[in-house]
Each structure stands twice: as C-alpha cells, then as structure tokens.
Subunit: 107 residues, 2 copies
C-alpha cells in the first residue's frame, strides 16, 4: 500500500495513468492526471483525467457513455506512474476500438 503523498507529478503537475481492463487484462489507454483528476478518480471511482489539449478535467465517457468503473489505483515504485484497474463500459478508444492499441502494431 502507499498514499497520495507519494505521487510525484512532473513539471506540468501531471502524472501518466495507465488503464487496464479487469476483465480482459488488456491495456486500454494511457492518459494524464493532475492532482484534481487523481482525487476525483479516487473519490468518484470513475476514471477521470486531465485533457492537455482542452486544458480541463475530463471524465472518461462523459459524452460517449464509455465510462470506467475504477476498482484499484496503484502507484509505481518511483511514484511517477499510475495504474488503474477498471471495468470499462464499451470500447475504450474514441475510434471505437476496444483499446487505443488495437491493431496498432509497429511493423
């Protein structure tokens, strides 16, 4: 176990967050969180991120309905990466793909 105080944000106040599907084990996506997004994720148990392009908090699925029920939130050994275990409703990717990596192997 660890605590929120151990999260190390980067110079922009952000930490990368990886979402993994509890059912399939697939890595669904990686997005960024600021402290507010991380706190919201822990309190609401909905995957919540910081949109760097729109510069605002972003509840995953707020428009598409493809929300993430967050089952656990872990911090890596050096405190600078988050891993979320999520029950993903619908496809995780905005393209409609199951994950943001589906069919995207580099050849």
């Amino acid at each position: 176990m660890t605590t929120l105080e151990n999260v190390k944000y980067n110079a922009d106040g952000l930490v990368p967050a990886i979402a993994q599907d509890t059912q399939t084990g697939s890595v669904l996506m990686m997005a960024w969180m600021n402290a507010e997004a991380l706190n919201a994720t822990l309190e609401t148990r909905r995957g919540t991120y910081w949109s760097r392009s729109r510069e605002k908090l972003w509840v995953k699925g707020e428009s598409s309905g493809h929300i993430q029920h967050v089952k656990s939130v872990s911090l890596d050994c050096d405190g600078d990466t988050i891993l979320l275990a999520v029950d993903q409703i619908g496809p995780a990717c905005h393209t409609g793909a199951e994950t943001c990596f589906t069919g995207r192997e580099i050849s």
Copy 2:
C-alpha cells in the same frame, strides 16, 4: 498496423512505453524511449529505454539479467504512447517485485 513515422515524441524527444507481460498479462512498468531506444528495441527485440536520470540508453536487465524479450510493439491511436508485449525474465522491478506496481495500491 502502423509505422515508426507516426510516433509523436514530446518536447524532450521522448515517448512513454508501457511493458506488459505476455504470460501473466500484468503491466510491469512504464519507462521512456527516445527514437534511438525505440529503434534499438525493434531491431534487437530487447526492451531498451532512455534513462532520464542517467541521460543514457538503458537496456532493461543489462546489469540484473532481468531482460525483456519483446514480442510486439504497438503505438496508441494518437501516436504518443508505446505498448510492449514482453517475455520478462525475472522480476521486472528493481526492488525485486514482480512488477513496479505490485503491492502499491493507493489507500
């Protein structure tokens, strides 16, 4: 499928790379790659990263023996995150834990 030309590096010339274990499905670690590290990973099929603290290329396991045999390299939908499927030899974390997230749930 996609190609190397579609990788979008950040202002520091880096892209985050998530390593996932092919056997267990566990997310093992997240580290950073520059173009040289990504090319080396694709050519040698050994997980190779850029160490931001040491400012040098870093072959995972070069000192510990805990190398990663890379089975596939995928790029996410917007081109700014890499996902590696790896056969991890030994523990992935420098602490000796199976993954860098093992036992690190935020409570």
